[in-house]
Symmetry: C2
Subunit: 350 residues, 2 copies
């Protein structure tokens, strides 16, 4: 038999009010009473009825995420992980995650239903577009939300995104710390946001190390395998080739890897290689490529959850931004520059 507040309070000889307040941490109940109540509650297996509580408080104790129907590119692979991190963190606050999906054309209707029906306290907007009608919609209604991905809008709002600039900087720094001085970058066209950000990070790291980036070593390549292949060809043809290479995306990265292989390159010897996002494990390889790895979906989910909680707590939106920090994943394709490469240091004096 399901036990409710009334039964619990009667068994304790207290009023429902007191029991309720004891359980909810109000200060106008003595500590001894509170302990008695808590004890009895767990004894009887009391679980407050969420619907009743929600009706009384007006909260829904749930947040929603509307998933674009039929979306199925690589981003989806992470979806399960994000959900995992999200629910994990939200559960700590006894908040449920409600998932809906809807075809893009009726997306706003779904939002309306969720909001007007008071089913959720806040929403997470996934896969934001540059000018996103959903965000405008939510801002107009003044409904709490967090965006997963930045967009362009005048008003402040909470968002989570990945820190591509930090990733580019990290990769470069890693190679610098290994002792490399001639570091090449193969990057995608810079009108792509991620490419521009990673490029900036790379350049920054070099400058921070007191190195002026050699324009010859920074090559723009189309976002495909051929691009990476040909760019590596150009690098290796130089009289003084770089000792390390960062490829800012893994599509060109696959091409670059192939090109290196064709020239007899072996991982760990000769040129060091870091590929942003790593090389998918489906590609048959004999080694693990060192890569800049995005945060896991779980950590993304947790970050989103924290943002939601902050939004609900009423923190100023302008402060609620989080950048997911990538990290350099250990692999076998980077190492110190080859011995002869150390001599140039001495030369640098002369």
């Amino acid at each position: 038999m399901k036990v409710n507040l009334k039964m619990l309070s009667e068994s304790l000889g207290l009023s429902q009010t007191t029991v309720s307040r004891a359980l909810n941490g109000y200060s106008d109940v003595s500590e001894t009473t509170r302990q008695r109540v808590i004890e009895a509650a767990s004894q009887l297996g009391y679980q407050p009825n969420p619907q009743a509580r929600q009706l009384a408080t007006g909260r829904a104790d749930a947040i929603g995420i509307v998933y674009p129907f039929g979306a199925s590119d690589i981003g989806d692979m992470r979806f399960g992980e994000v959900v995992s991190g999200l629910t994990e963190r939200l559960a700590e606050h006894r908040i449920d995650l409600l998932i809906h999906s809807s075809r893009p054309d009726v997306e706003l209707d779904t939002y309306r239903r969720l909001i007007d029906g008071r089913r959720v306290d806040a929403l997470i907007v996934a896969r934001t577009r540059l000018d996103d009608p959903r965000i405008r919609f939510l801002q107009e209604r003044n409904f709490p939300f967090v965006a997963y991905g930045r967009t362009e809008t005048a008003l402040p709002y909470a968002w989570f995104d990945f820190d591509n600039e930090a990733g580019g900087r990290m990769a470069a720094r890693r190679l610098l710390e290994l002792g490399h001085r001639r570091i090449a970058l193969i990057h995608a066209p810079l009108d792509l946001t991620f490419a521009a950000q990673r490029y900036k990070g790379f350049i920054t790291a070099l400058r921070e190390a007191g190195l002026e980036p050699d324009p010859e070593l920074v090559i723009e390549a189309p976002l495909n395998r051929i691009g990476g292949y040909q760019a590596v060809g150009r690098l290796l043809a130089m009289k003084k080739p770089p000792t390390a290479l960062l490829v800012d995306n893994n599509v060109a990265g696959v091409g670059a890897l192939r090109a290196l292989g064709d020239k007899g390159w072996k991982p760990g010897s000769g040129m060091s290689l870091i590929v942003y996002d790593g090389i998918p494990s489906e590609i048959p390889l004999t080694c693990t490529v060192t890569g800049v790895l995005q945060p896991t979906g779980e950590s993304t989910g947790r970050a989103l959850a924290d943002l939601v909680l902050d939004v609900l707590a009423g923190k100023p939106l302008a402060d609620l931004h989080r950048l997911g920090q990538p990290c350099v994943g250990a692999g076998e394709t980077d190492g110190p520059p080859p011995a002869p490469a150390r001599r140039p240091r001495a030369k640098a004096l002369g």
Copy 2:
């Protein structure tokens, strides 16, 4: 201002009772009144408060799915799709989907919370194991659920699974219809359920076509690339090699493909090839491999939703089983047997 039942009924000069019953399709309200009510409701944008309704009815209007935390194999890629189909179908019945994830060690606690807290009306058990404690738990409590994947248990329960046998049969039939008579099968060890099922389907299709499977053409290969590679080697070394080949998994399939390539095989000419599950598009290929494709995640989700609805409707559990039907996805690696292969038909008479 949020409009509630009271306001709506007052604006209509009716009682809350009548308005409620009109909206919920009771028969003791005249059709003209019902129309008036419906009209006014949409006019005022009335949305019933789900918490209040749930409190009154005792339903939660939500079903839950607990996702194993940290699971991240290929199965995950489909998770978003499944959720998509699930929520789509459930939304038609105004039922929400609650997602939780939890580490396996506290999984049952999560179930308990969800059930005792009356947060959901039913659960979906994903990634079932052969002897699944979650299923036992739910059966003991007599809580409605649907399993995504079959397991072993005495009591009947609702489940969804893929029809591997049908898939094997389909693939074989396809090759038979193209005119092949010497069809080889490379299969994984038969203690793996999927392998046994696909094997059975393959054999059945051959027998149905009046063909006795040639044991020489049915090769067991370990579940890896080498396995597929070597098996193909054996097949091609025969004095009378098969004209068609089915590989029952795409891991061995990749190896098989490589072996064929090494022997100068070209898609569409010579041996026909079907690979169960197809070849992942990440593998660089010049052609699309014909494959047996699992149903999409969306359709799986919809099937699960239907099962849940049936369970909640109280249909007998023993009837609530669904097999997801695979289909043969068109590709370029199958076709009629090469011309010389037609002669054996005449020979078959003599």
